[in-house]
Symmetry: C2
Subunit: 210 residues, 2 copies
């Protein structure tokens, strides 16, 4: 199906560009207002609303593609995180997460909380699983709190990260501050006291994360 059997001509290259421009515009606009209209998105991309339907079947299709690719990008960035200590692993995940999401905070919240979170769930599944595994492992070795079941704790860690995102969306926060906050809140959630957390961060060089 890729190279058609008939004598069809190759698709125009600018079409692909426009498609990309639409996604990029959507990324930007939806990050300001998750309910931005197609009209607004198309205009921002330098196209007409009508043309959008030449690239995507409908609004949902655009959103789906945007969110799915975003979720995969985020999940992909976590793939390289491997560390023997499960707590360090968690902190590294938090750190990378922030870096990936920092410039799309509002849309990230929308992607995970909004009505379309169904479309990102699949791509984020491995990430959630590795968080859960790290927590279970850390509980087993007595490194973190055991008064909350692992599943629940995993959700709460995720919620803590989202809470920082939200806070950063409402009250200006530079990238560096957000980065450390995400880690601090994750550690706090799993049971670390604040001095303990600070010690842990310096001990493991997490404050100078690349």
């Amino acid at each position: 199906m890729v190279s058609s059997s008939s004598t069809a001509r190759a698709p125009r290259r600018d079409a692909a560009d426009n498609r990309a421009a639409l996604l990029e515009a959507a990324r930007t606009l939806l990050n300001q207002d998750p309910d931005a209209s197609l009209e607004a998105i198309a205009t921002a991309a330098g196209l007409s609303r009508r043309s959008v339907y030449g690239h995507f079947a409908n609004r949902d299709d655009l959103l789906r593609e945007l969110l799915a690719s975003g979720a995969e990008r985020v999940a992909g960035a976590m793939a390289g995180v491997t560390h023997p200590d499960p707590v360090v692993r968690l902190a590294l995940i938090a750190s990378h997460l922030w870096q990936e999401v920092e410039d799309v905070r509002v849309m990230a919240l929308f992607a995970v909380r909004g009505p379309l979170r169904v479309h990102t769930a699949a791509a984020l599944e491995p990430l959630r699983t590795s968080v859960f595994r790290a927590i279970r492992e850390a509980q087993a070795s007595g490194q973190i709190r055991t008064d909350i079941p692992a599943r629940r704790l995993a959700h709460l860690v995720e919620a803590a990260a989202l809470a920082v995102l939200e806070e950063s969306a409402e009250h200006p926060m530079d990238a560096h501050e957000g980065h450390s906050l995400v880690i601090l809140m994750a550690l706090a959630t799993i049971g670390f006291g604040w001095r303990e957390a600070a010690q842990f961060i310096t001990d493991n060089g997490l404050d100078a994360a690349s």
Copy 2:
């Protein structure tokens, strides 16, 4: 204007009942779907959509009244919280908060996060202020973390409480578990380690909060 000067008759008493029924129905329905239509709300209240406009000028009016009264109820429940130790005060606030909001969790999230949060801000202001004051006081006396500015920390504590609400909305959680979680997460956010927090809770009888 209360008792009209003309020979007007007193308003019918069932009208007030219907108005109350509308608010109650709205409270229930909006707790399931914050975008529930007036049609749905009116029907649930045993009235027609048309009648709603006999009691409220428009949709926003209904919402405003509902949210404002809810916010005041919540804020009012915190008024009685006075304790010399600011950390205990924070924990008590968290505890009472849960009890007030437990049966309206989804709508509470909507009221604080949604587009109508403007209408609840005023009523919740004293509550937010007392959280901020408690945190500042506790920081001054070295009881809690000082690596995060008081304002920011206050926001994060609020976010932590909301995170528990959200978690409870998505993954079933009985009232008791939610109650302790809210306190635990608040303490975690202000810098307590999990054992320290547990100790603190038993020491102050917070696990048996009325």
